[in-house]
Amino acid sequence: MSRFAAILFVVWIIVLATTPLHAENYVVRGAIMIAMFSTLALSWNIIGGFAGYPSLATAAFVGLGSYVGAVSQVHGVPMVIAWLLATAVVGVVAAGIGGLLLRLKGHYFAIGSIVLVELFRLIASSWSSVTGGGNGLNVPLLRWEPDEVAQMFLLVMLGLMVLAFFMNVAIKNHRLGFGLNCIRQNEDAADMVGVDTTKYKVIGFTFSAFLCGTVGAVYASWVGYIDPTESFQIVLTLKVAVMALMGGAGTLLGPVIGASAFVILEEVVWVNFLSWNRAILGVLIVVLIFFLPNGILNLRIFSFLRAKHKGDARREKP
């Protein structure tokens, strides 16, 4: 990542963080959504971008996080503890599921991970004694001023986004990132030269999941109500992958750019074309696949945002 890109990231964080000072609540809500989806896209980037595994389990982990957070808050656990609990539970579940699912490759992994979303949704709706079933759950709301609540959630989501970003930086510069990169290029060869592929993949998968749990729990506290169909959406899973692809999968700034651009575009589409929003987003995805296959960040005009090639070579020397 070039120095310019780092400056750009800091400026973008400041712009988002200061929205409550100069804009109305609607814009603040947009900023929270941008921070939230940036966190999810950055998390997805670790398994989907670095390791090149088509993971579609994002919504399963977000939903699980929402439910763990909401159920524990309903039972009187303080809000922040509930968020941490959701993070831990999702991390453990992801490590367990990862150990099983990551033995699959390609299409089978994609199907296995997308089925998790449906499976969790069905369990959430049929286990009604705990989850409230199809009626959903009401999460206790904060008794603060609405403005304060929005500001607090904005700062929390931005914090998560920064955390996810630094997690990406750390992993990319660490052995783990190098190993995941090897797995993306040629898993068999990586295995042959001594990369413990299973261990790396499971660790990568866990890293890509646990913040999804936090985001889910924070989101549940923010909106105050969750139900199975809203929490576990296959659309959400694909949206996050599309955002990362749109910005540039495997890069550091790409997921942030993609998530910001997508959320803004989606908002414009929602406002202007209510009954056609789904089709327009579909057209957007199709156009993206054909005209931006490598993401916005990999366009030639944005080359100044990418890492210098020399730096890459130095860092990737074993």
Binding site: Y108, I111, G112, V115, E118, L119, R278
Partner: protein, 286 residues
């Protein structure tokens, strides 16, 4: 409820699942594409049959060829113009592309057909054989589904196009060297996949109410059937469909109907881990 009744219910449901999933399985096996459009194709087939029936009075049986032709054309066109261009890209690219197309089709259907559940009521009554009670429309649906799946099997086995599809599935490059136009075969295969989805939709609209929101449910069934049976072969889809139907029928009796799909997905994950080639699949096609 006795075992024979549950088994019969399961087989009737399973035949529908097989017909529903065989096109999805073919597309996955031959093109290596996870076709997220499949569920919407099923719903589109059902809607077309419903409107042919309610506006022109065309019996669903005669709607089958019309719907099949329309869906084949749609599938062929989509594959020829769009998906073929990225057919060798990673999984996520083709999956996302078909998902984008699905969003467009879904939106078009909700706008033009609205989301009201629709069903063709043929009112054929029901009958009882040896203590097993069956609504007649279900039996008709089952017979139709098995017949259509059998016809596809026959086409794959004994027509030139069917042989060419199998050849491309086995070895694309060798098939190309033998003079098969692979891009055309891809488009035909996707067309057949869409056609089978549409035909399954016509049968389903006789048995169950159809609306746009069940597209995802049908797609989920196709996933399970494919993994259970194995990819790209008609017998695989038939076995997978029947197994899923019977398992769901027993599961909904013992664990309650809301938990039956959970058992289906658990079966999928279990088989993925234990035997990803499916019950009758052949190794090397994944």
């Amino acid at each position: 409820m006795d075992v024979a009744q549950l088994l019969m219910n399961g087989l009737a449901l399973g035949a529908l699942y097989a017909c529903l999933a065989v096109g999805f399985s073919l597309v996955w096996g031959v093109l290596n594409v996870i076709n997220m459009l499949h569920g919407s194709f099923v719903v589109l087939g059902g809607y077309l049959a419903f409107f042919l029936w309610s506006y022109f009075g065309i019996h669903p049986l005669f709607a089958l060829p019309i719907v099949g032709l329309v869906l084949f054309g749609l599938g062929y066109g989509l594959q020829y113009t769009l998906t073929n261009k990225v057919i060798h890209a990673p999984v996520l690219t083709t999956l996302t592309l078909t998902f984008g197309l699905d969003m467009i089709l879904y939106n078009l259907m909700t706008v033009f057909f609205s989301a009201t559940p629709r069903r063709i009521r043929l009112d054929m009554g029901s009958f009882e054989v040896m203590g097993v009670f069956m609504p007649a429309d279900r039996v008709v649906g089952m017979v139709l589904a098995v017949t259509l799946t059998g016809m596809l099997y026959y086409v794959m086995r004994s027509s030139r196009i069917g042989r060419a599809i199998v050849a491309v599935r086995m070895d694309r490059i060798a098939a190309q060297l033998m003079g098969i136009r692979v891009n055309n075969i891809y488009a035909i295969t996707f067309g057949i996949g869409a056609m089978m989805a549409g035909l399954a939709g016509v049968i389903l609209v006789i048995v169950f109410p159809t609306t746009t929101s069940v597209a995802g449910v049908y797609l989920g069934k196709a996933f399970v059937v494919c993994v259970v049976g194995g990819l790209g072969s008609v017998p695989g889809a038939l076995v997978g469909g029947l197994v899923l139907g019977v398992v769901e029928s027993f599961a909904s009796h013992f664990f309650g109907p809301q938990n039956a799909p959970i058992i289906g997905y658990v079966l999928l994950l279990f088989l993925l881990l234990v035997k990803p080639t499916g019950l009758v699949g052949v190794k090397g096609y994944e």
